[in-house]
Subunit: 165 residues, 2 copies
DNA sequence: TAAAATTAAATTGTGTACAATCTTTATGTA
DNA sequence: TACATAAAGATTGTACACAATTTAATTTTA
């Protein structure tokens, strides 16, 4: 029973005992409002939506933006290195990088040392985009509106979860 | 400057002052590791991936599962009611509900009172699925591995963010 | 060294997500 | 009542996201 309770929100009475009068309590763990993962999923989607408006002026989607972040820092990475940093595979990255190449922000070519790998390099236009991007984190932060303490707490918990996978 | 700092992780020295020796500090706010939204995005995806293996036996995707949760509780809802609860629009829900109908878990038909609306109703097979789903929340919880305190904290912060949108 | 195994991308197919548009039905108002 | 407006879904188009497969290059090993 304890293992089923873990995803419940706090029992209102705090005693962990289901009320005898309600026959539906067995299914409480399946109520949307008792899920913890659902607000996580909904929140992540909402934040990507907020990024969309912030990033419109840069001609980037959110996924393209985080890929550019890696390139702003590292200048040149292989597709698999990028995938390891972003938790994305080639099925997502290949078409995404082709779009960034079309926009002129990156170049793609097979590595000389290992022809299996593709090197993605940032272009001059990609570097220039970095200046325009400088205002994005601040705008997103005020949009999300957490205190420093809440941000630290959220980061700690999210990284704990990620550490298990 | 303060507004740009908000999405940084804690300054290692704790004084909020950028080191003079590093010329790249201006761009620290654009480093992937200093983002709070990225672990949120990555974590949400990872959890959906974990659900996928838990839900394989139910023949449900994660999005189909949360739609079924609403139906397990309410038996019958319109598409727009479902969309309000799940933060999804008809462009996502229409094809999803057609799939759930094909699997025999729901029926879809125009409401008599208002022909603009579509009523989605759970079927007998959909109700039976509820029994199989009972074990999912517990498995997901142990998979995520947070303490009760961490879960409450995470839920509080996520709902604070959602409350702004 | 030749064959087997591994690795890296690309490709294919399915399923979300969501903005924008379209169609149908219902509602409000002159 | 006619007409404008609004509301509800469906449709269209773009962009992920990822499992599974394929292709090519590299490494391992018998």
């Amino acid at each position: 029973m304890a293992v089923l309770q873990v995803f419940f929100r706090c029992n209102k009475r705090g005693d962990g005992v289901a009320a005898k009068s309600s026959q539906a309590d067995k299914y409480d763990c399946l109520r949307l409002e008792n899920q913890l993962c659902f607000p996580l999923y909904a929140c992540a989607k909402e934040i990507v939506r907020q990024y969309k408006s912030q990033l419109a002026g840069l001609d980037l989607t959110y996924t393209q933006y985080i890929a550019m972040m890696v390139l702003w820092e590292h200048k040149s990475v292989t597709v698999s290195e990028l995938g390891n940093k972003l938790y994305l595979d080639s099925g997502t990255l290949t078409p995404l990088l082709k779009k960034l190449e079309q926009k002129g922000f990156v170049t793609r070519c097979r590595c000389q040392e290992d022809e299996r790998s593709v090197c993605v390099k940032i272009t001059e236009a990609g570097e220039e985009l970095k200046e325009k991007a400088l205002e994005v984190p601040g705008k997103m932060c005020s949009c999300v509106g957490l205190s420093d303490e809440e941000k630290m707490c959220l980061e700690r918990i999210l990284k704990k979860i990620m550490g298990r996978f």
